[in-house]
Amino acid sequence: MKIAVAVGAFCLVTPLVFLPVRPASAQEAPASSCVTCHTNVKKLIRLGWEVEKVRGKARVSAENEGEG
């Protein structure tokens, strides 16, 4: 009986030793939605299409002439 308890305890405790231990404060904070979107090229390209639908293309006057 004692042997069975000891083996059981060993099986339970041993994996815990190999678990990564990090204090809560050192864990990375979840990225803000600004960061999530602005670091993702695919999302930004799709968003660009949406922005264009709503606001239209960036505008430059066709009447500009000569060198600036």
Binding site: C34, C37, T39, I45, G48, A58, V60, S61
Partner: protein, 374 residues
């Protein structure tokens, strides 16, 4: 530049010192809102304008305080020149001109962010590299965005048949080697024009021997404090004439520059002083005519003659050897090099009376026996 590139944030930026600051701290907006339109509702695109002291000034108080009144930030001399040319105008004219200045002239100011983080507004922005802060901005994007029409092309040799400035071509120098941070950030309250800025680049800072009383070169001794360095060492530079501004049918501002030339003109210095004692300096024609703002207020520049349209300039086309300094009489007596009344339009004769070099003021031809030996 593709629209997404303008606003893409490099993940590596988030590990830098500036990347540790929460986005909302500078830009506002609402990161909790899943709808991009409302999330960006109160977004501050450029947190460094109009008040850099609230953002940059938190950690860089001295720089931000000076930069807020710097020439790049306020472009105040342009406004003052327009004011002088307007004179005491009625309120409706002043309001129309304020709109014109905001829509056109005002596009060229540069905030902290428009030099160190993104391209200037004038070229519709976009991060330099993924929101990284660049202590020394890249000249080919930052400086050239606003100064690309004239200065950058001259400096790098883009003008046909005019070699690049020797500082660029032979010494690999960039804009920032002469226009240092101290100049860019300098407070400019009370500085009338950029040529009066005490922090502007001076040739003699790197070439003291050229202006020394005992200079080994005879030409430097003879012309010392009489002739600006560029008179002998600059090549032709771009002159712009006849710029008109307005707003098209879609309410988009436009600029029309009708004529440009590559020219080299030496004129009189209308206001010699201890800082700029020269009798002769190289002139540049800025893109202004009496009708420039007529779209907004016809005849608004009633006092156009208040200042010259050929202004002392510093062409960025410097070479040790130039056609005019190859021999004394390439310059002396060479009418073509000097600003003549024939070079002026009818509308600008009075404005340039003090800078035109009349035949009597042309430097005389040098006789062979009077020529210096070196």
């Amino acid at each position: 530049m593709e629209p997404y590139e303008k606003i893409y944030v490099d993940p590596a930026f988030l590990k830098t010192e500036h990347g540790q600051i929460a986005c909302v701290d500078c830009h506002g907006g609402n990161p909790e809102d899943p709808n991009w339109q409302t999330a960006h509702g109160n977004l501050v695109k450029d947190p460094t304008f109009p008040d850099p002291e609230k953002t940059c000034g938190e950690c860089h108080p001295d720089i931000a305080a000076g930069a807020a009144t710097s020439l790049h930030y306020t472009i105040a001399p342009i406004g003052r020149a327009i004011e002088r040319r307007m004179g005491p105008a009625p309120e409706n004219v002043r309001q129309a001109m304020a709109t014109a200045r905001e829509r056109h002239c005002g596009q060229c100011h540069a905030s902290c962010g428009q030099c160190h983080v993104s391209r200037p507004d004038y070229v519709r922005g976009g991060f330099l590299t993924g929101h990284h802060f660049k202590k020394t901005p890249p000249m080919e994007t930052t400086c050239a965005s606003c100064h690309g029409g004239r200065i950058f092309g001259e400096f790098t040799g883009l003008n046909k048949k005019i070699p690049a400035d020797t500082h660029f071509a032979d010494e690999d120098m960039t804009c920032m080697d002469c226009h240092k941070a101290e100049q860019m950030h300098a407070a400019a309250d009370g500085v009338a024009t950029r040529r009066q800025s005490p922090t502007r680049p001076r040739c003699e800072a790197c070439h003291p021997e050229a202006v020394a009383e005992d200079s080994p070169r005879a030409a430097h001794q003879i012309h010392r404090r009489k002739v600006a360095c560029q008179v002998c060492h600059a090549q032709p530079a771009k002159q712009c004439y006849g710029c008109h501004v307005g707003t098209d049918k879609k309410n988009i501002p436009y600029f029309k520059c009708q004529k440009t030339t590559l020219d080299f003109k030496i004129g009189l210095n209308p206001d010699p002083n201890p800082d700029s004692p020269y009798r002769y300096s190289v002139k540049r024609h800025p893109p202004i005519v009496p009708e420039t703002f007529d779209y907004y207020s016809p005849g608004a520049l009633k006092h156009f003659d208040q200042e010259p349209t050929w202004k002392s300039g510093a062409p960025h086309t410097i070479r040790r050897r130039t056609p005019q300094n190859a021999a004394c009489n390439n310059c002396h007596g060479n009418r073509k090099l000097f600003l003549d009344v024939k070079d002026l339009t009818d509308g600008e004769r009075e404005a340039n009376a003090a800078v035109v070099v009349s035949d009597e003021k042309l430097p005389p031809v040098i006789a062979p026996e009077d020529m210096p030996k070196n």
